[in-house]
Symmetry: D2
Subunit: 142 residues, 4 copies
Amino acid sequence: MRATPRLTREAFDALVAAELPIANQLGFRVESLAPGHVVTRAVYQDGFLRPGGTIAGPVLMALSDYTMYAVTLSMIGPVALAVTTNLNINFLRKPAPRDLFAEGRILKLGKRLAVSEVTLRSEGEAEPVAHVTGTYSIPPRE
Amino acid sequence: MRATPRLTREAFDALVAAELPIANQLGFRVESLAPGHVVTRAVYQDGFLRPGGTIAGPVLMALSDYTMYAVTLSMIGPVALAVTTNLNINFLRKPAPRDLFAEGRILKLGKRLAVSEVTLRSEGEAEPVAHVTGTYSIPPRE
Amino acid sequence: MRATPRLTREAFDALVAAELPIANQLGFRVESLAPGHVVTRAVYQDGFLRPGGTIAGPVLMALSDYTMYAVTLSMIGPVALAVTTNLNINFLRKPAPRDLFAEGRILKLGKRLAVSEVTLRSEGEAEPVAHVTGTYSIPPRE
Amino acid sequence: MRATPRLTREAFDALVAAELPIANQLGFRVESLAPGHVVTRAVYQDGFLRPGGTIAGPVLMALSDYTMYAVTLSMIGPVALAVTTNLNINFLRKPAPRDLFAEGRILKLGKRLAVSEVTLRSEGEAEPVAHVTGTYSIPPRE
């Protein structure tokens, strides 16, 4: 049986600060972390923009992957080597140049795979700007 | 009938330099651009890393989206406001810390949607590190 | 402006009975249809089985597509020529040999594309057996 | 190390005949099977039709899954309990009412996951009608 040391928000922040520079450069942070449910934020930067004055798709994809990582580790503990195997994103609305929020939740936690869902919204907007599903592979236990 | 002004590599580079800062920050560039077929490169930076010493998924997704943008515009001309509607990525192998190459090709060019495929490889490796399909929406002509 | 004649459940059933034989053969039916929210059922048949005694993936995909069709038409009216452009399914749990329920909802209705989400469950089970997102293309109005 | 008993076409046909009734009902068959590369066919039936007189999406998805199953087993041997974990399909062109061909190939064979790609064409047409990627989960060896 897998013992599941609880992942604290502090432990996740420390892991990201030390080993995931792209999330730091893009100003991502966790707002709330509970087992199976995570809320994250991307603090707006002008570097997020794309033609048309909206936020570029790669920023949304990066925030989604960060959120999936957090929500997966919220269930399995600080297993840094968990890796994405698949990510599918539907872009729904053009995101205005402001902070983004992402809400991640687990759809299924298996022994080898964790499937999760992320919904992205612009700050102050009810309708989502993107919807993501993805799978993380959980490394075999030592 | 849509007149298709040919997209030159110089025009694409100029568009990205002016309006897509994330691609500049991540060191993306076009190696070859022909109608329906594009090769791009991400010049390795330590900022690409993730736990385990491999390249983070968001870098691969950003390079894929940049490549899809280039290959889509290679067919429809410099329509900067074309936007991604869907992107699906399968991560196949852990990418070593070195340059990445992406090869993009058009699967279907319609009036409203362009579907393309991107294969990503590490420099000097034959086997792909990721495979991507995605759809761009082509804005209605003025 | 697009006038949106309301789609009744009877109109959808009649369309499927006349023009979508695979849905008839597989015993699909609508349980509830409201604008933007649809519940459907696949009545179990032994023909659904796959090795291991669970229900085959194609049955789940067919039920998902039928549900997306219903929920899309629930928003745009009886536009029979709306077609799927993309469908992504994550299989979460092995479905036992019994009826399946699918719940579809609209994530985004645009002028040209409708993105929807479907969650599939086995009768009497709370946890989903599959999760689907997909896009329908809405034909230009005559 | 996993011993890999070669999968013959006869063994695959026998498995499907005995345990995958939906593939039999839909008239699917293998045209060619080699390790990592498979060609299959769906013999046209009027039951494939959808509004507009083209072939319904679920037929394409079912043929894709059957093809992925064949190409996965072509690599790992007759492991009937391998199951799809994810499938993503892009519909590219409306398929005319005639036989469909599908070509499947392995993108990555891992110890736990096999990722494959399927391209679908109408008989006698060069341009694909759909493109699929998907993942099969390989059960742990006894």
